[in-house]
Symmetry: D2
Subunit: 463 residues, 4 copies
């Protein structure tokens, strides 16, 4: 990950992994598609030359027209033209090597303040100033974010992608600093264009249509919150969906479809975070998610003092893959050869649909899930599952494993149907964050630990 | 100027000079004074240690409480404590020299992408990340700006001020990027707290009280515009006052007090920019002014299509000082010894109040003003007067010299009463900016050139 | 019409007729359906008694709780209970007959100011004060409007409906006075709940789904405007859909589906009002439509100075019915027996689909449409077609008859496919209004008059 | 009182009396004074004729231009012209007597629905429809309110004032129905034009200037709330000032000036309503005040759950006058002749300033105040003091008499320095309202009853 050099941030990496584990990335609506009238093509404009001219201007306000021209031209470009320009941006707008060499020598000769500042200036790629200048026009921010989205999409065709991307990310971290983000509730009175993006960007549990959307944000016992940037008020950056319930739910179905019984918001005891989705890929790697959950907890507590439990209902996307590998692994693994054999049931499609097969495999499978959650680690000693890693690093407690919590195709394929509740206990969050950061220990509900051992299977009566 | 290393920007420097020439700096309202309840003193907190702890946290969201604590503690500090902390910030939160040396050596050994990125990271002072982290809480931005304002005020007690200030400025340039600023009209329906700041910050022609303020923003033929940052909606960053008139005014008195005849806005032909003031000294050096004028011209043109003249009524703060030096200078100067003698009239207080003395000196003094405006240059070959330099670099035309345009104490003392109209002709601005930037030539109304020669004095009848 | 006694308003009546001609009325979403949690049933509350208690309270603020109780109870009522209550409202909350008789006698004895005021007071039905009191709680206005909507729906079961309705209407005319309505543009950034109502209430050309809606309000060359009341910000009262085009369109198909070629708004010359729909039936008879068109014309002119033509594309809902009657009528009618025979073509379904049949009947049918528009009158001497009557009374000009302008099932059935353009010429509107009001004359494009005569049929080649 | 016929409302009358007792009425800022450019005089326009033309128009939207003309002309009128027009309005725009007579006869002949509705229509003065039509233009509402303000001011020159005023009031009651009013907090971020009106309209304790205003609305322990109408967002209708304190304050001085010790809002236990002022005299008699207090209590409770006491600090404006009359009255009065003699102290100016005189008279004076509050009644058996009457009828409890609570000139003159705390106990309000409405009994703190008896004077040591 490119940002890790200057801004070490474990969560960031984790979040990235969550995204790819959940298969989040979707085709962006190209900005052009939203525009009512097509931008005339400007294929013959030498965009690189325009950028050089802009950088040459000493008076910053002298370039506003130029900036508009540059952004319009880029937007009128075909995919190929964009790729060519992004390559030029990556290769020709870095730092000036000669100036940098001189600055290094001068600093080595005399490491004083002046030499240090020149070194600082010389090391900054020219494209950073260029990007800042491109932001001088209305809507510039969004267009620059889309430029990075293009770069990420065209990554394989951009040999120097990582340099380029690192500069975008460096600037976006400053522009999208937590202090500038605005938390807004998204509900049925929100602008349609924002809601259309919620439908588009939902990454965990698909929203089928507007009526499905309404059922998630309009009832009294549903909430949705998103971060926005003041310059991009129509563009949610990240959003979270919340169900207000009496008890901690064990299945996603009960959250998404059990809507016959809407409850009064002020009677709810539990807030369930059942979906969190990043939006624009142009902002990939800029960390919003960890702030979002805590702030939403604060907002809900103030509005609904009766809430005393804040919990997720989360997928376990790494489990099935891990288990498959374990079953093939040698005798020394977490899963014994004997257990591996018992788990062959899983290879029969439909095992989850009849009580005979599912209840038979249940004790062992629950134990396997518990072992995965408690014992499977990544290279840094953190939980192997990306969603778990995200919530644990964020200070949550591993609270409950839910058998057949998600029996959708994806749920069965990725996690043999398991879902997990991670609990956000405000009093414990800080300590939990500290503990996992310092020595990798996680906060676990004892009941989950008990599940490590294979329980005796219940007797299933023949029907 | 500290910013000039990384972001060459002539206007910036000029604007700074305008500020000091106009004696703009005023005591900030300390944020504490506005707070309703006093913050409890926290003198024993080791703020430096808290900052180190914050920087040590890997998870950015883990530090929000800490950030609040740091900012509150700083705000509860006495002047001395603040000074001590700012010195620590300047001295102990720079880059890590050992890491930087290693990074330099690695880069010299193999200047590849990885080495470069490590060099980039190593050269960034640790306080930059610290400042960005401090922005994670509500109101953080304003508090950080105030921290820089403190540093500027305490400059003389901060040996390493320039390093510190350069980092603040670097970050503020990104945060207060033109694309994030919002232009708003300020009028009698604006929030009182914003208006209170207009009164406080007005730097060119004092606003005496609320009724004086109302006379400047409420009548149909008056306008005021300001830039705001979304995170600091109560805090104008820079503002400009406009009078809508039939003709180009020659005296500030006619603008400020000739209010018996309010005219209909849509009958006005001329928009007069008669006052432009920067606000928070914590944002010194961040360029807003040049953008402001052009955007206000756009806004006014759209609202009032009958406007065809956009012009300033500006002070000439450098004139009297320059003339005094010229009068003492050798024979080779712009003012001849003979002329210098004739100008002794100026040494008698009250020369401007009787026609006999004033009309006698008028032809020579007008010529001297024309020479000052056309011939006096600074070390860069730009106009010597800072206000003139600002508007010329901004693309305006030197349009008219106004005799006894400002007979207030300050007007007479700084400029022997002269005021100047600089004309913003939208069709000429870009070319003018280019011309002054490339070869230092300025756009001058021929009538002003004609004034270089001393006109024959009119005969003044004895009364 | 019940309102005509106190507030004579021809347009009102006309608009009512437009509504029924267009078959506008749709099932209201009952407010209950939108509420997330069901209101507990309160079947045993004696609502009439509660209302009497409320009216007995002298201090108006003493009744706020009571008001809430009354409105909640009503809302929890079944259809039958509501009907029973509305009947009581109509029968038991009129004026006090004894008091009225006394007041009349006193006034006849001595028609002084005091007697007159008592007469005024005595003639006011008690339910008027009741309705005003019910408005004291948040959301009261909407609930009262829904109460009237119930009454209109249950009309046939309410023997004294007209008394009741007249009081609702009297109060709503005051509450929804033109001066309190707010015109807002409805676009893709409007709240979803408002847009959902646009879909629901569209009465002229159905909106199929959200994507169809977006195509009507989001493109640069489409506009939608609605009136709102400040107390019911989610509830459009009436709305109009506008297409910006180069030429006056002749078919609705070109407006609704010819979207491949979106044009730039500032290149449009023509604004086409192609759909206008009233919303809540509880506000039936309160006139908004006539104000709406003129205000939208003003707004569009200011935004897009290039627009020079404001025109409708309207249905002709009365034509087919009128023609059927004429064809059966005696020789003295507008349609001659011979012509009637020629028009038998219309009795064959599908006549419009083959050029042979349609072109053969075209000259006569166009002439018949012209005669309908110019010669068919209602009992007041006004145009017989309700939509025509609305626009003519509103000051428009009958501009063009469009052959096969609407070939949808409804278009063919109601108007044999004709659509009409009525032109709003700002310079002519007032005079036109005066002319039709005073002597019933209408403003007609001469080209339409020319169509009164049957043109020679063009020769249609056999294919 | 003109409204009492149709809408019996005791509080209304009481509030009127409060206003005059407190000497509330101030010169309105005439709307003209606020306008930037003078309206050209239109003295020759026959406004009455214009109004007749408007009423003659059948199509309501045909008159919009006319409405603008009528309101502009009126506004350009001199005082005399206005007076003439208002007289015409009062005399010539009543009901049509002939029509009314016919309607009465028809109704007497056959009191059916049709006859009743015609009677209803005939009894409505024509000026009611006129006033409703005048509201069709932007800003119409405010201009009509100002028209009534003129009428009230010119009352003595309008022989038929009461007829005219009753129609204005009838319509305003509908337009300014509680359900349409919006409660807003007024603070230092409110628009300056709203704050300027707070300064202007404050009727109880003068606001000296903007800095005095800031001290009342900006500190954390101060609040101000006002009702607004959506059509007049710059115009507060009524406002209330609140101090958040630890204890119930006994003197106004401690509220207005004891600002050295601002407390944290969430530490406050008591909300003190120390000033409530009606604003525009054009809205005289439209009841807002009683709703305001209760709604503010609700808002404060939700924001600050620690508040448990809601209390006023009120003047006692009727006391001094009553006492003066009592002292002159015969032996049978509430004050005995002997007591009257003892009270001669009050005739010496400055009695309150030395402990010797003030402490000597204190026991008797406190008793007199208690007797006034508990025994002095108006003609309806309600408390004689108008402020007391307002709060008692509004459901408050008479809680405490404060000796030398207001030692300002007005406080001493009107109330011999007494102030009173009325307590709003949410649990008791409804019952209290009922009790005073039904049998005139008021809710009194026993401690106040104890003060009816003259306490033994404390011994004051000679200094």
């Amino acid at each position: 990950m490119n940002m890790s050099v200057t801004l070490p941030s474990g969560l960031l990496k984790i979040w990235e992994q969550v995204r790819s584990a959940l298969d989040v990335v979707r085709p962006e609506t190209s900005a052009a598609a939203r525009l009512p009238a097509p931008v005339a093509k400007k294929p013959d404009v030498d965009l690189v030359a325009l950028c050089e001219t802009l950088l040459a201007r000493k008076e910053e306000n002298a370039g506003i027209k130029l900036v508009g021209q540059i952004l319009d031209t880029y937007q009128s470009f075909s995919e190929d033209d964009r790729c060519r320009f992004l390559n030029a941006l990556a290769e020709r707008f870095g730092p000036d090597p000669a100036r940098l060499d001189r600055a290094i020598l001068a600093y080595q000769a005399s490491p004083d303040d002046l030499a240090f500042r020149e070194l600082q200036a010389a090391v900054e790629p020219r494209r950073q100033r260029l990007i800042r200048l491109l932001n001088f026009v209305p809507n510039g921010t969004f267009k620059i974010v889309q430029m990075r989205a293009d770069a990420i999409r065209l990554k394989s065709k951009l040999p120097k992608f990582s340099q380029l991307d690192s500069d975008f990310a460096h600037i976006f971290r400053s522009w999208f600093n937590r202090g500038f983000l605005v938390l807004k509730q998204v509900d049925w009175s929100s602008p349609a264009q924002v809601l259309a993006k919620i439908i588009q960007y939902e990454a965990v549990h698909d929203i089928k249509d507007w009526s499905d959307l309404q059922s998630r944000i309009d009832p009294e016992d549903r909430r949705c919150f998103a971060f926005f940037h003041p310059q991009m008020p129509e563009e949610p950056l990240i959003f979270i969906e919340v169900a207000l319930t009496l008890e901690i739910p064990a299945t996603i179905e009960s959250v998404l479809t059990g809507k016959s019984q809407v409850i009064r918001a002020n009677e709810a005891r539990t807030a369930v975070f059942y979906s969190i989705s990043n939006c624009n890929i142009g902002l990939r790697g800029i960390p919003f998610g960890n702030f979002l959950i805590k702030q939403v907890v604060e907002v809900l507590r103030r509005e609904l003092p009766n809430l005393d439990t804040f919990v997720t209902l989360s997928p376990l996307p790494g489990f099935a893959g891990w288990l498959a590998r374990e079953r093939k692994a040698s005798a020394e693994g977490i899963i014994s050869p004997e257990e591996a054999r018992s788990l062959q049931t899983l290879d029969f499609e439909g095992w989850s649909k009849t009580p005979e097969t599912s209840e038979a495999v249940r004790p062992l499978l629950v134990s396997a899930a518990a072992r995965f959650l408690l014992q499977a680690k990544d290279e840094n000693g953190l939980p192997a599952d990306p969603v778990q890693r995200f919530h644990m690093s964020n200070g949550a407690r591993l609270n409950r494993i839910n058998w057949l919590g998600d029996v959708s195709g994806r749920g069965l394929k990725q996690a043999h149907g398991f879902m997990v509740n991670y609990l956000y206990d405000l009093k414990a969050i800080e300590a939990n964050q500290e503990a996992i950061a310092v020595n990798g220990t996680i906060d676990v509900n004892p009941a989950v630990r008990d599940q490590l051992k294979v329980a005796k299977p219940p007797r299933v009566k023949a029907s």
